[in-house]
């Protein structure tokens, strides 16, 4: 059977380096770090006291206060980024067949702070439960996709994918499949996360995943640098309108890029550590290339998972080298987490947007904070250190891997 083509027609972003897509992209291209001391709670007793927070956001500009207080921040972020994407896609909600518009969202955790706050309150009492009636709906991860569907009346497929830091890429791939099979005309995809909380920072500190470079937050996220010491927690959301190509053409939509492939695999190895030879990453990238029906040499740029952890970074590169051979030294590679921090379940969302904007502007955003070469990392890779690089970009790949061994890869191409 022939698959339908799937294109990107709208973008929205709420990130630690910009509360809209234009600001986000400008700061990505300029190499700006979003890290700073944690303001959301008193972190003075935590091993890590900094993060990449969303800044200067007035939620009530987008969501009435009465509605907002019934939602966790990760749902606020989802609604805000999606409002931008819906505007950007220039959708006419009156004429659109909204029964054929889905929402598939990614979140690694869901309403972590809502859970935390409620249980802290409970612990203060005598054991009598006085749980707020909105507690569950604030907390559950699928409230984000549910709220988006209610706001716009999108009555197609609706759910949330949970695969830790691969969540959004799984959401994108699911939507890709529904649209190319003709099951949906359009789908809002993306992801949001709001885990800069006591439990989030404390929990990732406890499993030693976070950087503890408290004296220099802005340089802490340093993928591929010899002295990298863990990831920097980020938060925010990215929202993308995926649309069937002919549907987009018929309504005269602006088309950013085409989504041409998705690949998935599991490490089946360890709950946090990646496979030592990067086997899962290799299989997922290979699967994505096969799905797209393209040769490895077609890839011009990979936006890596590259979280700035000692073990993860080189293993991903090992897998890239194994799959792409000599071509892995000819393409550009960068980790934009050096600027945004790691948005966990939303990482794939903001990184897909980085890839799509990279194609639009023909610019590869950099891996900032490279100071010292790591002898373990082959110096022939072009890791786009410290400053953006202009180059012709046709086909780009975005990698995401999650605790649990989940790997999900997407490939975007300039529309031909």
């Amino acid at each position: 059977m022939t698959f339908k083509r799937v294109v990107v027609t709208g973008l929205g972003a709420l990130t630690p380096i910009g509360n809209d897509v234009a600001t986000y992209w400008n700061n990505l291209a300029a190499g700006v770090s979003g890290a700073g001391p944690i303001t959301k709670f008193d972190a003075s007793k935590f091993r890590t006291q900094f993060a990449c927070e969303v800044k200067g956001l007035d939620v009530t500009q987008y969501i009435p206060r009465q509605e907002a207080r019934k939602m966790d921040a990760f749902t606020h972020y989802a609604l805000i980024a999606t409002e931008q994407a819906v505007q950007d896609a220039n959708l006419n909600l009156e004429t659109l067949d909204r029964n054929k518009v889905g929402v598939i969202w990614g979140s690694g955790i869901g309403g972590l702070k809502s859970f935390e706050d409620e249980m802290i309150e409970y612990a203060k009492g005598d054991g009598t439960p006085r749980i707020n009636p909105f507690f569950i709906v604030r907390m559950i991860a699928d409230s984000a996709s549910g709220q988006i569907s209610m706001k716009y009346g999108f009555r197609g497929t609706n759910y949330v994918t949970v695969s830790a830091c691969a969540s959004t890429n799984n959401a994108i791939i699911d939507a890709f499949n529904y649209i190319r099979l003709g099951r949906l005309n359009m789908c809002v995809v993306g992801g949001s996360e709001a885990a800069v909380t006591k439990a989030g920072i404390g929990g990732f500190n406890a499993n030693r995943a976070l950087s503890e470079r408290n004296d220099s937050p802005e340089t802490a996220s340093r993928p591929y640098d010899k002295d990298r010491d863990g990831f920097v927690m980020g938060e925010g959301a990215g929202s993308i309108i995926l649309e069937e190509y002919e549907h987009a053409q018929a309504r005269g939509a602006k088309i950013y890029a085409e989504l041409i492939g998705g690949g998935m695999s599991s490490d089946a190895y360890h709950i946090t550590a990646p496979h030592p030879e990067g086997l899962g990453a290799f299989l997922a990238m290979q699967d994505a290339l096969n799905d797209a029906g393209i040769a490895p040499e077609s890839i011009d740029y990979i936006n890596t998972h590259g979280t700035s952890t000692p073990i993860g970074d080189p293993q991903e590169l090992k897998a890239i080298h194994q799959l792409f051979g000599e071509h892995s030294f000819k393409m550009n590679i960068s980790s934009t987490k050096s600027m945004t921090g790691h948005l966990l379940g939303a990482a794939g969302a903001v990184e897909a947007i980085a890839c799509i904007k990279a194609i639009e502007h023909q610019i590869v955003p950099p891996t900032i904070n490279h100071f010292t070469e790591d002898g373990e990392i082959d110096s022939r890779f072009n890791l786009t250190f410290n400053t953006a690089q202009a180059r012709p970009l046709t086909t780009v790949m975005s990698n995401a891997f999650g605790f649990g061994g989940h790997n999900a890869i997407v490939i975007f191409r300039k529309l031909s």
Binding site: P64, R65, Q66, R130, N132, P133, F134, V137
Partner: protein, 79 residues
């Protein structure tokens, strides 16, 4: 207006996002003030917390208007 009535009004304005002028004794939480069933449960819980008074479920179900809430609380507080 009693202290209790003032506090009740304040909670309703805060939780339901309505204007103070709308919070009349006859106003029904669901029909006039836009509350859904979960909002109503939350309101009752806020009253319980504010006045440190447990309200049994069968009593809570009958508290459907601003006036009935004030009346119930005035009757049971301090006894």
């Amino acid at each position: 207006m009693s202290d209790i009535a003032e506090k009740v009004k304040k909670i309703i304005v805060e939780k339901l996002g309505v204007e103070e002028s709308e919070v009349t004794p006859e106003a029904s939480f669901t029909n006039d003030l836009g509350a859904d069933s979960l909002d109503t449960v939350e309101l009752i819980m806020e009253f319980e917390k504010e006045f440190n008074l447990p309200i049994p479920d069968d009593e809570a179900e009958k508290i459907s208007t601003v006036g009935l809430a004030i009346e119930y609380l005035e009757k049971h507080i301090g006894k």
